[in-house]
Symmetry: C2
Subunit: 648 residues, 2 copies
């Protein structure tokens, strides 16, 4: 008999050799139907792996990323089988699960794999699935494994096996198909109910350009047809919401080859949106006791030698900026913290001055390979909504909670309702990996966890995931399409105060080292605007949107009245523009819809005569006609609903 402990703390006594699936069945048949894979004592196992020692068991379903991983990894095996049947003589290489789906890289030999074959391949995969072949993992000796693939003339697998240790090698069989594999599969192929092959691409063997180019086939699979349909709809919608597409359509930003890849140019509407976001956060930060500072975009080499960044400045970075003076070189700043440390260091600080909170919308530059660049989410220059809090160890708790309040206020004001948090702590068994004394780390980690609890965050703790300089809290938000984005980070730092020899005079008249908190609720203006675009599909919250109202003249005769309405709106700080072009009102309404302006008001003979406006909302809702003052109240009501005042 062995003891198996479940995540809820329950301990089951079962005979040695019992499988996770059998345990699931003993709990409930509903659970058993959904179990895809498992972990035992923190190691991935199959649902049908016999358990032979005491341990902790976690059962994974589709709802966990580990469950999806087993699902997609198994689907890659099915794909490989279908490919071998379809294209005899191809050589299989590797086929992992990825974030969304899976792929298999093959050396097609004389075959040419094209998307035209996807239908056939998908059909065959579903046949294999319906046959409910169990996945069976078996150990094999290195010599037998080598013999197997030498036989098949598969030099790729041979190369892989040569790098493995004898005794640790396993093959996985299903149906009449066998693959070299470490494990982590579904119980059988029958779980796969829907399959979609999505793409073909070239890929170098082991990612090295000097190796053979292979063919990579991407796919995704699901336990229900409905989930595939939803996924495809989501992809379709994501394409429509691609921030690069929307950014161009809405005239928010552009790129220029001459200015350089990855260096966004913010067009007037985008710059206005960004300014509004900045002012919104500045105002909240002012209330929370932050002070703005301004620092240059370059720093002397000495600054980065002190901060420790200079050492890490490799050949893959923007190179140093030389000057006529031999001993003087500058770096484009990759972060704002060293500058803020120098601002702190410019005064003699006392405990009475702390906490000090320096905020800056600081533009930083980091070199990315051109292939990695992507719209506003992966750029070479971006503006962080950065701030650094310098405080005493005793203040850390309160400061951390205050930062969480601010981050939650930001998310709420921008319509991100669904988020989780991750607390990253040090590995207590490897103290040598971290800077700062144990007592302070204890304090800081407790401060973060307390703060997360008190603020009622939905959080997970990841031990060993802290940075060497301190623990941290990261927020993951889900967008309207269910995609997760990391947004908002709060990090404790013991390192920079040490390196910059920062101090404050305590009430004991001695000098002490302050603790530093780095935080950025948006992360960067570029990435945030990109995510907001994809989240809202360009239908920004009313308070934020560049143009709130289109005033559409029925004909040129009504321009004068339209101008009057426009002025009334401007006085109420509503952003409106008159469309007095010589076009039909129908066309004007359609164009206003496309440009996603939240409200249109139509002014014609009747409206001018009655001193009213006819109000239509983006998306078609008709509010009928009303006096301008009522329209102003309507809009102000919406804005008040969206944008609460921050009360720290």
């Amino acid at each position: 008999m062995i003891e198996v402990k479940l995540p809820d703390g329950a301990v089951m006594k079962v005979s040695s050799g019992t499988t996770p699936m059998e345990i699931a069945e003993s709990i409930s048949s509903g659970l058993a139907r959904n179990v895809l894979s498992a972990a035992y004592n923190d190691k991935t196992v199959e649902a049908n792996t016999p358990l032979v020692e005491n341990g902790d068991l976690v059962l994974y379903t589709w709802d966990q990323k580990e469950g999806k991983q087993a699902f997609w990894h198994s689907s890659a095996h099915i794909l490989a089988q279908a490919l071998e049947e379809q294209y005899p003589g191809i050589q299989l290489t590797i086929g992992p699960a990825i974030e969304n789906g899976f792929y298999y890289d093959i050396d097609p030999g004389d075959h040419t794999v094209t998307e035209k074959d996807f239908g056939l391949l998908e059909k065959r995969m579903l046949e294999i699935a319906r046959e409910k072949h169990p996945f069976v993992l078996r150990s094999i000796s290195k010599s037998d494994a080598l013999a197997h693939y030498t036989d098949q003339k598969n030099s790729y697998k041979v190369e892989l096996i040569e790098n493995l240790e004898d005794g640790s090698i396993t093959f996985c069989d299903h149906s009449d198909f066998t693959d070299l594999c470490r494990g982590g599969h579904l119980p059988h192929t029958g779980f796969v109910k829907a399959v979609k092959l999505t793409n073909i691409a070239g890929a170098y063997w082991r990612g090295d350009e000097s190796n053979t180019q292979l063919t990579r086939i991407y796919g995704i699979s699901f336990p229900k047809q409905k989930l595939l349909t939803e996924y495809l709809n989501m992809l379709e919608e994501a394409k429509k919401r691609d921030h690069r597409k929307l950014g161009a359509e809405l005239g928010l930003f552009t790129f220029s080859k001459k200015v350089g890849q990855g260096l966004p140019l913010w067009l007037p509407k985008g710059a206005a949106l960004r300014e509004r976001l900045e002012q919104f956060l500045k105002e909240a930060q002012r209330k929370a006791g932050y002070e703005q500072v301004v620092s240059p975009h370059i720093g002397h080499k000495d600054l980065y030698v002190t901060s420790g960044h200079y050492e890490k400045y490799g050949a893959d970075s923007f190179q140093p900026i030389k000057t006529p003076a031999d001993d003087e070189e500058f770096l484009l700043k990759p972060m704002n913290c060293p500058h803020h440390c120098e601002i702190y260091a410019s005064s003699n600080m006392s405990y009475r001055d702390l906490p000090i909170r320096y905020a800056e919308f600081g533009t930083v530059y980091r070199y990315e390979q051109s292939g990695e660049l992507h719209g506003l989410t992966r750029v070479r220059g971006f503006t962080q909504d950065d701030a650094h809090i310098f405080c005493t160890p005793e203040q850390l708790n309160e400061e951390f909670k205050a930062v969480i309040d601010l981050v939650l206020y930001v998310f709420g004001s921008l319509g991100f309702e669904d988020f989780t948090a991750q607390v990253s702590l040090r590995d207590p068994e490897k103290p040598e990996k971290y800077i700062g004394n144990t007592e302070n780390w204890d304090k800081a980690e407790k401060a973060i966890i307390n703060a997360a609890q008190e603020k009622g965050l939905n959080y997970v703790i990841e031990t060993g995931e802290a940075a060497f300089y301190g623990p941290k809290l990261d927020f993951m938000v889900k967008d309207a399409l269910g995609r997760s984005w990391q947004l908002g980070t709060i990090q404790v730092d013991y390192n920079l105060p040490e390196r910059f020899d920062l101090s404050y005079k305590g009430s004991d008249n001695e000098f002490h080292r302050p603790i530093m908190i780095h935080r950025a609720p948006f992360g960067s203006m570029e990435r945030f605007v990109a995510i907001l675009l994809e989240h809202t599909g360009g239908n920004f919250p009313l308070w934020l949107t560049p143009k709130q109202v289109n005033i559409l003249c029925v004909s040129e005769k009504h321009e004068k009245y339209a101008k009057k309405v426009s002025e009334l709106l401007e006085n109420a700080e509503i952003r409106a523009l008159v469309d007095n072009r010589n076009e039909t009102i129908g066309k004007k309404i359609r164009e206003s819809e496309v440009s996603k302006v939240p409200y249109m008001i139509v002014v014609g003979e009747q409206e001018a005569h009655q001193n009213m406006v006819s109000v239509r909302e983006h998306g078609g809702k008709d509010h009928g006609s009303m006096p301008v003052s009522e329209f102003v109240s309507l809009l102000q009501g919406v804005v008040d609903q969206e944008l609460k005042t921050f009360e720290p």
Copy 2:
């Protein structure tokens, strides 16, 4: 007889050989008393140079910079005479007039010149002055001139003479002193009524470090004792108002060696001040139809090859930023215009879209020698309040006037009442020096002059001073100490639209080249804040000042009432801070005075009881006690007075 034409157009017929002084005397004895020097046919002459041909005569008095120059140049001769007498055997080198005063560089030989001797030297100079020795310029052959200084063993003068052309060499005699000199003197030494030697410094012969180090003696002189007194007071006041000193005292900005020389760090109070200035200008620009854009601080080499700046990027600049990609290098942006051209070029423009006005508070970087750096006025990184207007030739007139309106609004709101303008036009005789066709230049120059006239500017026209790419208008403001600063520039540019191949579709359906206007009312945030600090001595306009009100508690008991008052003020958007330290009210008032906070309100027993505040203005004025609402009105009245709404 010759004909002499005066600046007012009057023509006098006088006999050949008449001197400018004689002509002055014939006009009025008052004028004659004030004439210091003259120009004949655009060449500097002495007041006693005989005129022997027809020509244009300008007489210079102390009020013209040419008059001061003759005055100070002549004073350098007097200094040289006094030096030779005081330190026999020294070698004279050069002694020019400078912007404020003059200097003489000497090789002191065995002597050591110290400031202790200044009294004796000044006394001797005034003696020489009182003796009214005429300055007499005489021609001398090169060989005689060389013989004279070889005799004196003065290798410096010998070197100077060797580089002169025989026939063009003159000596100037006064008293028993002779110097090599090109001319431009007072009639006689008696004009000098007050002298002050100000400084001693080292200076290399011909400014070259590899040459002998000479001793430079600086001085200044005046035609009236009173002017010297005023000057010394002004120097004293300027020292107090030095923006570097005030910037540190008021906690506005700092520098860090680690961050790098010439790269300001804006502290919280400075950053808030700067933000307020930016918002002020942004609001005015919004009303004037500008749109904000945001561009990166670096640009690909190609951008600057296109703009033409890359060629000019020499060894004395920040060097290019290399990257891992061989064909990719970036420059720190030295100006924003190329980026704005690319923003313009990103859309298809029609004449209906013009004028386009892109504004950006764009931070640019230009390398300056470390010896040239000076506080915020000479830095390596600065933020221009930049904007670029793209318009049709027909729109240039209106756009130019609108820019002048904006500049004047900025000056008025910041207390700069005294300014002049300079219109720089092309040299019509050298059309090859300029880009753009004559017709457009004519239009642009007319537009500028018309605009300057219509706006009633006090302006001068400088022909031949235009940039190669277009004519311009510069503003010079006088600060409270009478010093002139260049602030605000408006430039027409035909070059960049050409180089970036910018176009718009005209009403004729053809493509046309837009004209570009560069303009910056502040110039740069750094320089403007420096000038504003020196102009106001740190007593900023109330609307702008970081902290408007200090709330001084008589004792800790009154803190609660002070907080209440503080909240009332905050609700009225007045920036106030409570001083509840355990210090005497006298000390708090004194410290508030030093920190230049415009208003203090004292809250004690009586005020709390009566729900009033006692108001004192910076500088001592006592406003007595009043309800908070009345105090708010008082402040709002002052702000309304200072800061008019911009009505373009």
